[in-house]
Amino acid sequence: MSMMRELYTQVILDHYQRPRNRGKLEDAELEEHLLNPLCGDEVTVCATFDGDKVADVKFSGRGCSISQASASMMTERLVGKSREEARAQIEGFKAMMIGEREFPETDDLAALKGVIRYPSRIKCATLAWTAFQRGLGIR
């Protein structure tokens, strides 16, 4: 199961076990539900804003360890970002997931690097991010 350790890194399993920012937000300004048509996994992301800055983000839904861990990591990263920064951040992440950009070594996100080898799982890893992107009005 050594290959497995590359995919299911400690960081992923940790986020899977103790997801950050799981839940819903009353008065969310942004709320977007997204379904992965290929497997039935679904996620809802919501966010409140403080002016242009993301004040709070939460996610809910059900899915595999990859989709849950990735959603959890995303919420940590988006708090405090402007809409523009959030958008850039998401695009950057999606570029990493299709191999068009390097994962920053020092970032926890690098834990998701192993997913690239499994194209069918890339959609799991990007599900919450795409939902947020759509919530920002980008299709």
Binding site: M1, M3, M4, L7, Y8, L13, D14, Y16, Q17, P19, L38, C39, G40, D41, E42, R62, G63, C64, S65, I66, Y118, R121, C124
Partner: protein, 409 residues
Amino acid sequence: MYDVDEIRREFPILDRRIGDKRLVYLDNAATSQKPRRVLDALTKYYERHNANIHRGVHRLAEEATAAYEESRAKVARFLGAPGTTGLVFTRGTTESINLVAYAWGRKNLREGDEVLLTEVEHHSNLVPWQLAAQATGARLRFVPIREDGTLDMEEAGRLIGPKTKLVGCIHASNVLATINPVVKLARMAREAGALMLVDGAQSAPHLPVDVEALGCDFFACSGHKMLGPTGVGVLWGRPEILEEMDPFLGGGEMIREVRLDHSTYNDLPYKFEAGTMNIAQAVGLGAAVDYLGELGMENVREHERRLGEYAYGRLSELEGIEIYGPKEERTGLVSFSLPDVHPHDLSQLLDEEGIAIRSGHHCAQPLMRRLGVPATARASFYLYNVEEEVDRLVEALARAREFFRPYAI
């Protein structure tokens, strides 16, 4: 004698290795593997006979036409059809059902009419009817299932009535492993003056099928799930009904006389075969049903029944596992959930051990909702699978669970 070792030698892909592990292919409900003789039939067709059919006077065209029409006769015989007139080649079950939903449904359904389906249907026998209902104003109704996954036939009796124009039912479920009482449903449909469509995608590959005995009006199945090539499937329909239907796809071959402003259409089954058909694939499917016929569908069924039973027993040993569908009278597949591990993670961990299972909604989202799960894992067997493969599956599941248990939420 059913010699599974000999059978396995017919399937080149079964020697495939995933990393250093021998492939254990348990995703047969999604698509089956192909025996060498089917691949040889394809190659031989292309290397010696390839031509467009029906319209050519030269030798290759004669040979290709003969091969294609022979396949039609073979498949008709395999399904117990009384002749070839009602046997239409399509891309697969999905196109077959859409053909009916367009060419019969758009013409015959009206506001106030009902199409009765079941909660167990594959999207292929649901979405085409949703589209037809939107276009015509007809209403869809659904036979519910009981706790064990079998159809509630009493409720079916209440639902079938004078408004019912068509009853559509999955013959063998790709999730629950049930074999539905389609003979009974067909009888009830007929008494109500409705037509009966059977989605045989999961029955034709695994059970002896006889469309006459089923008493249905339409029967659909896919070549790729029954040892045949991708890209070919079948719609069998009662000729009298097909005759009255509108054409579906327009183009070459399905016509009789074409004028700029209107056309008349060809005889059955050609009326529904527009344009250049999947000729080589139909020929390949002919070779596949030849092989199935040689093995004997009774024997195939018995092999899979035993293997399914064995798998059900072994999987039941796993603590906390939930297996869907009834305990008895199952086909050779098992859908299940393990606590603590998402089906996706499960199939990924199994893949590392060379074991191919499927996880997801199996194109049956309404059924998933009914079962209260977003997805299940599914191991589905075919005529070449053996008990050792079930053992490898069960052991790998136990290990996967060990891996994930510490992180269970």
